[in-house]
């Protein structure tokens, strides 16, 4: 079995993002970028499945500007076998991404697609579900545990009320949550090796996908700042403030 893992290049989660003055978006120039943290977890899971002998190949796909190839290299250094790069604007919408990925899946025929539950830039939380719908596959979202047989995946999902276990037919799309695993660091020799691993380049045109956006961004703004509060000196003072100023306790 082959596993496909879509990985997105996003602003590193430690960076405090800045909104551009002209309100067209956030500043991406000279900002540290990284693989979406959920996608690292997805890559790690795919590698573990391969190491357990349940998959032969882990193929990464990234859609984005040319630097997205660096993100593919990061995943290859973790241990993935090869990468597919599809050049597209940074803002390519989830629906278009899902269509591109579904078309790649039709060519590659993976038994499983594992992706992040959410990209931490657009916070959309929809690509995996959309891709699954387009392919007509089963979906298991927000996974915190995955176990496989040749026909099925049993997945524990993190839901609002707690945990839920479902069994889905393969091929499936699984979207991963934070507690599925702890992604590995790439070792120096593996980083060197990754440089020689193949990355194929495809285009939206060659895949026959129209990536014209459906949403137009009118503006991007800073959130309203909270007014600075005060420090209290004791628990007694805190309780008093809460009683008299807030009145909720």
């Amino acid at each position: 079995m082959k596993i496909l893992v879509p990985v997105k290049r996003v602003i590193d989660y430690n960076v405090k993002v800045r909104v551009k003055q002209d309100q067209t978006g956030v500043e991406l120039n000279n900002v540290k970028m990284a693989m979406n943290p959920f996608d690292e977890i997805a890559v790690e899971q795919a590698l573990r499945i391969k190491e357990a002998g349940d998959a032969q190949e882990v193929v990464l796909v990234s859609i984005g500007p040319s630097q997205a190839q660096e993100t593919l290299r990061t995943g290859l250094a973790m241990g993935a076998d090869r990468g597919i790069f599809i050049e597209a604007p940074h803002e390519t919408e989830s629906l278009s991404v899902a269509k591109l990925l579904a078309n790649v899946a039709k060519k590659e025929n993976p038994g499983l697609i594992i992706c992040g539950k959410q990209a931490i830039d657009d916070d959309n939380n929809q690509t995996g579900q959309m891709m699954s719908a387009i392919l007509g596959w089963s979906q298991a979202t927000f996974a915190s545990s995955v176990s496989l047989t040749s026909e099925n995946a049993t997945v524990i999902r993190e839901i609002d009320g707690g945990l839920e276990t479902i069994k889905v037919k393969m091929p499936a799309v699984i979207t991963v949550d934070l507690r599925l695993n702890e992604p590995r660091y790439a070792s120096l020799p593996n980083i060197m090796k990754a440089k020689k691993k193949p990355i194929d380049t495809l285009t939206a045109d060659s895949l026959g996908v129209d990536i014209k956006p459906r949403l137009s961004v009118i503006k991007v703004e800073e959130p309203a700042a909270r007014e600075a509060g005060i420090k209290v000196n004791s628990v007694a003072e805190l309780v008093e403030k809460l009683k008299e100023e807030v009145g909720v306790i």
Binding site: I11, K117, N125, Q129, M131, R157, G162, L163, R214, A228
Partner: protein, 310 residues
Amino acid sequence: MAILVIIEHHNGAIAPATLSTVTAASKLGEPIEALVAGHEVKNIPETSTEIKSISKVLVADSGEYAHSLAENLAPLIVQLAENYSHILAPATTFGKNIMPRAAALLDVMQISDIVEVVSPDTFKRPIYAGNAFATVQSMDRIKLITVRSTAFEASEASGGSAVIEKISGTGNLGLSEFKSSELSGSERPELTSAGIVVSGGRGMQDKSHFSMLENVADKLGAAVGASRAAVDAGFAPNDYQVGQTGKVVAPELYMAIGISGAIQHLAGMKDSKVIVAINKDEEAPIFQVADYGLVADLFEAVPELNSKLE
């Protein structure tokens, strides 16, 4: 054209986030109709008819909708879609699971997690963990939307008088199967709709220490929450996680105890009315958003707080 709200329900009760979703829908126009899909939904349709501003409740009571499996629910939404200009669901794990699937089948780009209706085709939504807000205009014929419940008041749950219309199911695709669930189910108020939330972080050091917070929460009638670090460390169950990738809360009072205030955590609680932080590190970023900050060792402050609340 009418607007459709998907009713989220569990164990015979409508999820509170649904009522906020109805409020968001009411800013788009009318009539507002609702869909109750499930198996043996009992009183949910009747309860739904009482929600203010809903005029019709469609009920699809059929085995394939038990446990809200997305593969079966999405085709039902798709089948209904042509009658509506907008379809909305709460941005809960329920809504996040099913709506994008329906959107893709309809060839529509979903608008996730809206916090404001600017006009019937234009919406405001947080991006980058709420460090920016995007106003987006949809060019799709039909708009599929998930709603951040804390950004909209709950619609009144009574006073409505909708009619019920039964509709048939779309069949079981047999792609997935529910096995079991392990719900945390507590006596305390539900986290996302509680008036007060008491949250603990890595500073709590151990699972057993969370009982200190539970004592305080019980006295205040509060829900208990946690940071990701606390959940990862096993101090609290996953559904306690507040933040960018957990739950979003906006109570009257949020108490962050032993939580540093990473942007991913702030994303889930910054809109709380009053924020209290107890942290021994006076430089902790949580103090930048706290209305009342107490620099103290939580192992002294929390028991003292508890006794002061007697």
